[in-house]
Amino acid sequence: MELICPAGTPAAFREAVKAGADAVYCGFRNETNARNFPGLNFTPEELGEAVAFAGKRNVKTFVAINTFMRAGDEQLWLDAVAAAHAAGADAVIVADLGLMAFVAREYPDLRLHVSVQAGASNADAVNYLVAAFDAKRVVLPRVLTIKEVKELTRAVRCETEVFAFGGLCVMEEGRCSLSSYAVGESPNMNGVCSPARHVSYREESGALLSKLGRFTINRFDQGEAAGYPTLCKGRFIVDNEAGYVFEDPTSLNAIRHLDALREAGVAALKIEGRQRGKAYVAEVVATLKRAMSADGVQREVCAERLRGLSEGQKTTSGAFEKRWR
């Protein structure tokens, strides 16, 4: 299995390569990718240098162009594909059907990976994208159990890639407008979810409130660790009871399922986190790389180490286990 690692900056990119990535994925400095955060991402020149750096070390570069083209401004996305191709990227990761059609038609030599944001969650959907656009790989949404990943992988005519570590979408990726409902900006349209510029904190009778736009997403009592107000990991009141209605503040960690994923025929494991710093990226990549070839005891050590790097020091294997549902 390949290990696909995130890079939000050229420095993180180099760290990921050195730490043992088989491929690194990144995006351009605009809304064509789903981590469109201030100060993050690559210019076409930086991408060219990164591709060359990785290529010399037999590491691949994938470019995420995985938001949905804004009507009337499609050229920005078409240009991103052209720039990725010109930089010598090994693949583009795309979510928009219209953009996939464009890639297949204009750049038949450019490897097309289906982004998790496309929401291709079953074999019929994946095989359609293979037949229609010659997709070579699909990144699976975090809605499938290991058993379903295995069945799908056997039934599709392309490679599968799954998320193994990092931020966890509770909702099916690419089909979530919670963020735009609260603040007017969404992963699909703007490449952001619960964006920082809409986050504020306020004290109220000893408690700390975290807000997204005008909505109070969480309330932390004194002494309670306060987390970032990502919408689907907020506290809400249902039937007069406050709680984490969708999911606790937690990260995905599939380290205990590595053998099952390999046995399922998965081609690649993906680490989420293009918004993270280079030290984090280096440590996560190295630890997961070690875990992939480790025995049970060593792997436990790796799992503990990864837990320490996770949101709220809490991890879950999410949808991989059926009881999560």
Binding site: V143, F236, I237, F246
Partner: protein, 301 residues
């Protein structure tokens, strides 16, 4: 019944028990001025048996009333029987089908169909690609702003756009059932927790403000999305199909208000007043159309 504008009734997204579901559609057939009715479970395959026994009668009643019927499919299909169900939806020839998931696409090539609002169409390149393979109608995702809708409507060849015009916006879908979870259950052992909340289970913010509505594995807006303030702009940009999404309100009255507004008998301000009177406990919103937070309500100038 032919109108210059097409009013559609989207699929009922909530779990209503069988007789309730049947009676709702009987009333729609008898009294609602809608042209097209979408039938079928979109949210959760576990619910399908509730309406099943009544489907034939509902279809018959709607047809006799002159309504066209579109069969809606599942939005998220991961289990073999769900994938098989969507495949069967796509392959049957009795009804036009609405694809709510990419799994139907391979079976719809060259066949007339509707693309539902949970398939991501954000631009005319994608809409035209879909039209080229058989889509006759593309119902756009609720989060699209007017500017995008207008551009797509203008540039789309061979198909029409439909705009989500009334009801709780479908915002997200998950493998996990938050509805079951809220009642201390899991999805496998949900005992149809969602049947207790036929208009969705309200989720309030920590300040006590109504924010979302949980509908099984689907998360919706708590507010009712209401496009009336933007109807003029939508009509000017060439949109002529509007979708009303069933809620636990008097949907015949809702349809009558929209119809009167579309035919110019009712201005949008009065339409809004009347709609708000139908559900005084739920806020209306239209922010998505104006490119701001979807939960907001923008008063068009």
């Amino acid at each position: 019944m032919t109108h210059k504008h097409v009013l559609t009734l989207g699929p009922a997204l909530f779990l209503w028990d069988g007789p309730q579901w049947r009676d709702f559609y009987f009333d729609i057939a008898d009294e609602a001025p809608v042209d097209i009715v979408f039938l079928g479970e979109v949210v959760c395959s576990k619910r399908q048996h509730f309406a099943e026994p009544y489907l034939a009668k509902v279809v018959d009643r709607l047809r006799r009333a002159g309504k066209d019927i579109v069969l809606s499919s599942l939005a998220l299909a991961t289990q073999p029987r769900e994938i098989a169900f969507n495949r069967e939806c796509a392959r049957q020839n009795e009804f036009l089908v609405e694809a709510n998931d990419l799994s139907l696409m391979p079976h719809l090539a060259g066949k007339a169909h509707v693309v539902g609002p949970m398939v991501n169409v954000y631009n005319a390149m994608t809409a035209n690609y879909l039209a080229g393979r058989g889509a006759r109608v593309v119902c756009l995702p609720p989060e699209l702003p007017l500017a995008s809708i207008a551009t797509i409507a203008q540039d789309l060849d061979g198909a029409e756009v439909e705009v989500f015009a009334y009801g709780r916006s479908p915002l997200a879908i998950s493998a996990r059932c938050a509805h079951a979870r809220a009642k201390g259950r899991t999805k496998d052992d949900c005992r149809f927790a969602c049947a207790d909340d036929p208009d969705g289970l309200p989720a309030m913010t920590m300040s006590g403000e109504p924010f979302l509505a949980i509908n099984g594995v689907q998360t919706m807006s708590h507010s009712y999305h209401c496009a009336v303030g933007a109807i003029g702009a939508l009509l000017r940009s060439g949109v002529r199909r509007f979708r009303l999404s069933p809620q636990k309100v008097d949907m015949i009255a809702v349809a009558t208000i929209y119809r009167a507004m579309l035919s110019g008998e009712l201005d949008s301000e009065e339409a809004l007043v009347r709609l708000m009177r139908l559900s005084p406990d739920v806020r209306h919103s239209n922010g998505f159309l104006f490119g701001v937070a979807g939960a907001d309500f923008v008063t068009a100038s």
